[in-house]
Symmetry: C2
Amino acid sequence: MHRHDGHDACWTDAGDMLARAEATCRERGLQFTPLRREVLEAVAGSGKAQGAYDIAERLSAPGKRVAPVSVYRALDFLMEQGLVHRIASRNAFIPCAHEHAPGEGVIFLICRSCGAVDEASSADVEGGLGRTLERAGFTPTRSILEVEGDCGLCRGQGGAP
Amino acid sequence: MHRHDGHDACWTDAGDMLARAEATCRERGLQFTPLRREVLEAVAGSGKAQGAYDIAERLSAPGKRVAPVSVYRALDFLMEQGLVHRIASRNAFIPCAHEHAPGEGVIFLICRSCGAVDEASSADVEGGLGRTLERAGFTPTRSILEVEGDCGLCRGQGGAP
DNA sequence: GCGGGTTTGTTACAGTGTATCACCGCCAGC
DNA sequence: GCTGGCGGTGATACACTGTAACAAACCCGC
């Protein structure tokens, strides 16, 4: 399981992630274009989940506007490649913190104080969910599990920094 | 656990639900106003999850417009009372199909063919999730668990009706 | 009746996401 | 070299989702 080691060092190194993204795309014969790289950097640049419009604003500069629609396209691509996750309860995006086994479920732990999003996984939860779905006669294709609360660091500090 | 017994009879009787809503509000000293009743009926009237704007449109008639903002307020109230659930992955709302034990987690099973949303709960999943969160040092306040897939009926029929 | 709280109506607006078309760059094939 | 296709990007417009702010109506106890 992935654990916080500090509010600003929550994610794996940005360099690692970019290298992994590049490798993944090359391997699959897909283009890791400058825009896609910048969007991934922007998503990873903050410890928090980023909205598409936040990303667009962050990438825009006087004389170089990045439209939200471009950001959405890049995000769609990055999500398809499993490099970025979408947080449905926030309409926001986070970089994928690690490689997932194919089909492995992810649990998002969203801190309501500092806004950081941690990823966890649990065979325990998955097993229980699988059994529950089977009992219900339901064949899953995708599942979303998001938990809001207080991360250990924030609780220790008694609130947001 | 709640089970489908047909595409059009998925929910508990609308009458039951309205009676329950009325009782809940009376018991808590809250008003079950005509608007709130209509919104609850509209949410329950279709087997599918309804968007707020769909509900507004459905409640509007020539000469009597119901604005989305009013629907949102009614939905907020109904959600606070636990009479309606929000499906984060769809930005849509469904009636609560049964009484939940306080603090009990709910699993939403969303059929991608027929759009019906079933509710399930599982002590198994909750236990596993609780242990996982504890290991992560995370204190939960709210959790969302939504599974998309094919319900038994649709899979049996090989698709949407 | 009056004051105060709650509910609803109305308008305006912010935020989120998609459709559509045009343009560019690249590369295979002639 | 030219051309035609294809994926990526830019740009505009638009639909959908949700909230803020204020006014009017309503209800209830005094």
